[in-house]
Assembly symmetry: D2
């Protein structure tokens, strides 16, 4: 991982600012012969795009994806796949008063500190809008891993203090918060709306699950599968924590509670529990990979906040505009994409070991 | 990060198996002119090495470090620094009965699945012993960042259900669990001994803090500072979760509680709280970087466990040998090392931006 | 260098096929604050684009470059710079008879062997058209190195058996073969036309010179400056050889003839000759870097050639279409671009060494 | 390629200075299950080591190789293979007068310019001694590609103005210059001795050939097989030029002379000539890969040379010591090693493409 590129054999480079001409990506190293069309990409982009419900930003972006290269007669050719998404509904004028003001919880100051210059409009490069490019790339990764029967899905398990109580996968896409527990979903949505009306925002937890995983994915000791998944997920804007399997609960556990017993089923080595989250020693066990990410409340709130501008002058800021009061539902496809990208990369790496 | 190498400009490659001739590392990209001698490395190795107290393994390894290259007349030359630590007290015979048996919670099966062959003795490459090489490299990284007044320290904040209640940095190295709360440390040590006597082991939480951080470290969007720190920490054997600042607590927080207010002090932009953990948008804010890692209980326990061997035959396993009943105290220098390596890398990357 | 990306800190990724929707590139790692506009890019693209004279292909491509990201208010921001060039005059129908036939001297068979699928139209990814993207990236690199007073230029020194006899830099852009010897240039152009009329093509040698070089560029032992320049130049389609300074003439030389004597001028270490070509031990000496590349005759000729198709059926091929009978003049801006990209990368790497 | 590491999936990192404690390397990414022992490495090291004949340096180094990791019970395990070669016959005292003097044709000044500090003894890191580590790594690479029936050999084709007239592979190792033409070899050796007696040295040309190559190796557009081979060969100390197939002769050729006709034999696509040198579009054709490198005369000569020291003071230098008057014979195993390393890397990369 280097700058705006992630992956070794399956490599994704994203580009674009929130209010520039476009966002997009180049996927390099996609195996040849994979069926792919713009509709496959669009399907995922539509899950991420703004304006899907009353609890997401009202910025209206059709997020039309154009494939510029790497696909010939409906199949990938092994050459780089460039994808382009034009920005259309950018209201840059609204950001003019914020040109030199550092919004708390945002990357305004840190980009200024690092680069000495920044496109302040809509968060520029640090905008969540950049993740549209990740989702486009993730759709390609998804197609790659699907050929080996692997799949990734994610769902919101917690918003504020409200936690999902049961899991029904079919329900995830049926509610605006993408929770696998339809009933709890309604309470979550209500909490989000209340926070929004109070000029505030809410955090949450999203669970990401990868299924159909072959044992052997991951490259110790520094490209361990969990290490790279953690990096990919932590690299999503609002994420402040990542855990696998039993996660932070392991602190209170004893070895005898933690270790997953091993047995044999259909000539395959299996674990009778999955507290390890599907990874041991940085390599997949063959069980589902289970991750959870801590999602912070959207920093853009209309309640007054103390800050300074570039010249050190104090400001009390009330952020107006079209913001998601809770980003969990829209992080779901982004988290899926990041996990799929890492898995596609490691799947290809695994195949490179002679004899496979 | 690729295989056994971490870093872009400050690159560490480790090698070695638990019961092979040696473990070691090559540090490439260390800036020239840094004062360095074997004693600097030894100091850190001594903090990691086994047998420091009654709650760590009794394997007796002096862990003598030899610098093979890259240092001339007491200073680094900019060429690769190779460091060698011979293995001495390997009792390989004890592992012979485990040659084909997969120990639960260990990487035995996953290495076999990936590589089709493995050095089973003492966990081979997956052994915690490999981290001695990381600590040697970390000592070099520590010397590099110290030139810019940066420093990393870590301490145990939780073991089992016992949490540290206060923080006194000076106390960390004064107790066998490396807790900054001397009184709690005694209770923690007691709990560890009890678990050990019960043939079991305990998990915990270690906090890692980096101080003296300049704003601007980190390379969005995929080499964000938190993403790379997360990867480096998650890549330590027993770690199942990583969080920054408020971490998983952000789920319950509102934006107005989460956002760190910004003010100006001595012409520097500062945050009046540090719930972000010192990183916004993947770039350091200049505040301390605060991370916590979830450490699972050591998988090697003498209580009986169900498993299978390579041929699918069932076994009930009682692991004998010299194992740490709680790895937290010895993870402390390893976690410091990994964080220092990432910070050194990003510090050098930051300096590469023209004009600095 | 990996797949379609070159560079470590200044990274260029290109994409696009000859007859697909577009070619383009993403430049990542460009320092922030560099003045850049589309006109800077266009200027270089115009030097590469087809149809400049009667000895280049008549494919009519305006090669308009659009900057999609990374530039704000006329300056780079440190974020990735994506650039797009739409394909317009693609005559794909002409390639339909060649769908399964392997053209000698082209990459048709090798792409098929590697990927099992290929976009045959106009050479697909292997087309010289891809170099438009390199020239766009090279223009950015040129702007970066120009800030440190470095510059790269190239010129044709040989076509067929005709060699330039003198060097006047001002004359390079005044003749269709880009030779620094106007008189010889006319003879070269004549030879090219004669070859073309005979249904054939001609090879040549292009010299690439980098000036204003600071000593210290290059990263031994595997990222030596000459190693990376050689890779970048050899990676241009028609290039079959690269040499530095005295090049292949060193075989006949004695050490006493080869070694450049060292002296001091204006407190700078200088060489009184430059047979090393400006690089010793893989690091720049501060003298001009002088390289020459061997350019093979364009493989697309209308004389009959023996070959086979995908099914092994024999064909006698006469290639029609719009092809450059000698590619030297159009390789000049491409070679300059590749050298500039490597130099920009190494310049930034050099700045990363602490204390500079 | 970055600093002291070469390769993507088969990665070699070397370390060590001429007069430090040791040189060595870490090979990461070697496929598991490859038979390997120290004797395999030693065999190649013995071909490179000094003192083999009266025309090589008399420094007496046994160059004993110790494998430190990555091999278990005679087979590689997929974990990093570290190899160590202790320096023994370093006569550092002889270099004391040269501590601050820049030897012409050497990297003394450029290392000083880049790093501001250097180990001057015996050339330090820039010494040819570092290539012992490359040869050790090359032996591993050779074992990897041999499993797919690939092999690399090299031989001296020119020294001074004397060229080999015929090729008999069996004769290469039977004469001190490693020429495949025994008779010419004697003349070459004589020329070298004469140059040495005159206090001077001689250059030459070495040809490197890779056989048994599958079509499809190479990763356009920036990791083309020829680009990476060129980089690897140009990165050898004395090399000033690299060419493939017809090489610099292509300048005088016409397309109709250059293009290799294509035919079918035993259901395989073949070329009836090999002017392309086995690579088209950066991907192997399946024919032998044929490369030639220009080797400069050894810069260490005892004839007087003009130079300066670190403080700008002029010196007339006569270099004493034990130097090879012509490095061609000892470059042979190094060039083979570098080519094998690149081929092993690309072989593994090719296997990573799904479906193989």
């Amino acid at each position: 991982m280097l700058g705006n590129t992630i992956g070794v054999l399956f490599r994704v480079t994203t580009f674009g600012e929130s209010h520039g001409p476009a966002v997009g990506c180049v996927v390099d190293g996609c195996p040849p012969g994979v069926e792919l069309c713009e509709q496959d990409i669009q399907l995922q982009l539509d899950r991420r795009r703004p304006g899907q419900s009353n609890i997401s930003t009202s910025r209206s972006e059709p997020d039309r994806c154009e494939i510029l290269s790497g696909v010939f007669e409906g199949r990938t050719t092994g050459t780089p796949i460039a994808m382009l998404i034009r920005n259309q509904d950018a209201e840059s004028g609204a950001y003019e008063p914020l040109r030199d003001v550092y919004r708390p919880g945002h990357a305004d100051y840190t980009y200024q500190a690092r680069y000495g210059i920044r496109d302040h409009r809509g968060g520029g490069r640090a905008s969540g809008r950049e993740t549209a490019a990740r989702v486009a790339a993730g759709a390609v990764a998804g197609a790659v891993i699907a050929l080996d029967d692997m799949e990734v899905y994610a769902h919101t398990v917690k918003i504020g203090s409200i936690e999902a109580k049961r899991f029904r996968r079919a329900e995830i896409e049926r509610n605006p918060v993408r929770c696998a527990d339809q009933q709890t979903a309604m309470a979550m949505a209500q909490a989000v709306i209340e926070a929004q009306e109070a000029g505030d925002s809410l955090g949450g937890v999203v669970e990401v699950v990868a299924t159909g995983i072959p044992p052997g994915l991951g490259e110790p000791v520094f490209s361990k599968l969990d290490a790279e998944l953690a990096s990919a997920l932590m690299g999503i804007g609002a994420v402040k924590g990542v855990e696998f399997g039993a996660g932070f609960k392991v602190a209170q556990m004893r070895g005898s509670e933690m270790n997953d017993p091993i047995y044999m089923k259909n000539k395959k080595v299996r674990m009778s529990s999955n507290r390890s989250g599907g990874i041991l020693g940085g390599i997949s066990t063959g069980e589902d990979i289970v991750m959870r990410i801590a999602v912070k409340p959207t920093p853009s709130i209309s309640l007054p906040q103390r800050t300074v501008d570039h010249d050190g002058k104090r400001h009390t800021l009330k952020i107006k505009g079209r913001h998601d009061p809770c980003i969990c539902p829209r992080i779901v496809p982004v988290a899926e994409s990041m996990a799929a990208i890492v898995l596609a990369d490691h799947l290809i790496r695994l195949k490179s070991i002679a004899g496979r």
